[in-house]
């Protein structure tokens, strides 16, 4: 990753920018039921350990090229993004096959509640973080 970021620095013009955006594994994702107005939290979804390690490696790579004075940090932030599902079964299927998250949500509602609303629309609400870096003069 550091090699790639050095290459990015090479091809960028002076004061060029890099925008690094990816899911924010530092906060939980949530399984939510879509209501007429708003959403109801049904469970929490953690990031898989493999992806957590990968995210940390990316963070270290960014920190390194900043330390090397190739880039300076200009701005960062986080926003939330919802992935929609037609039913709770679809959401579970997604978690089961998706590599980024652990395969099972930690439910915060009981079984009866999950059965009652199983055929309604659900979402996974997850955080996306971004950071804007600017090239320093060569």
């Amino acid at each position: 990753m550091v090699d790639a970021l050095r290459e990015v620095h090479r091809v960028l013009a002076p004061r060029g920018i890099v925008i690094d955006a990816r899911p924010d594994s530092r906060v939980l994702a949530y399984a939510e039921r879509r209501k007429v107005r708003g959403f109801q939290r049904f469970g929490e979804v953690k990031t898989s350990s493999v992806e957590l390690a990968s995210d940390r490696a990316s963070d270290r790579a960014i920190a390194r090229v900043v330390r090397e004075r190739l880039f300076r940090r200009r701005r960062h932030g986080r926003f939330w993004h919802r992935v929609p599902f037609e039913s709770l079964a679809d959401l579970r299927h997604y978690l089961w096959e998706h590599l980024r998250f652990v395969h099972r949500a930690s439910w915060v509602v009981d079984v009866a509640m999950r059965k009652r609303y199983a055929n309604e629309e659900f979402v996974i609400r997850r955080a996306v973080r971004y950071e804007i870096l600017e090239t320093k003069r060569r």
């Binding site: 290459e7 990015v8 091809v11 013009a13 060029g16 925008i19 992935v83 599902f85 997604y94």
Partner: protein, 114 residues
């Protein structure tokens, strides 16, 4: 969820999983708006099926899309032809050896890439 996105959930094919990401215009707005790329030479590194590159093409001067997945790049080229966008080029390549001269770009986007 649309039929396409639903049918490909969890398959981990970059070109397809990108349909589950925020819309390019939404992501761009969160980053600070179209001004970030307006009139700029942009590289979407790890562009997958080109969804993001094509999404920002309306604002940028030129957009390069690079990805090591030849299948994804073929899909990106097809999507570009279909949408009629003329300022976007896609190529197969690796981030460790970018096929561009020094200082050739203004913005590099690593959208869900690092």
């Amino acid at each position: 969820m649309s039929g396409d996105a639903e049918s490909h959930v969890g398959r981990h094919v970059p070109a397809l999983s990108s349909t589950l990401r925020p819309r390019p215009v939404d992501e761009l707005r969160e980053w600070g708006g179209a001004e970030l790329v307006r009139g700029k030479r942009v590289l979407d590194l790890g562009c997958g099926d080109g969804r993001f590159a094509l999404g920002v093409a309306a604002f940028a001067s030129t957009v390069e899309g690079l990805d090591p997945d030849a299948e994804a790049i073929a899909a990106a080229k097809k999507a570009a032809r279909k949408s009629g966008v003329r300022n976007v080029r896609f190529a197969v390549g690796a981030a460790q050896r970018l096929p561009y001269p020094d200082g050739a770009l203004d913005v590099v986007i690593l959208s869900w890439t690092l």
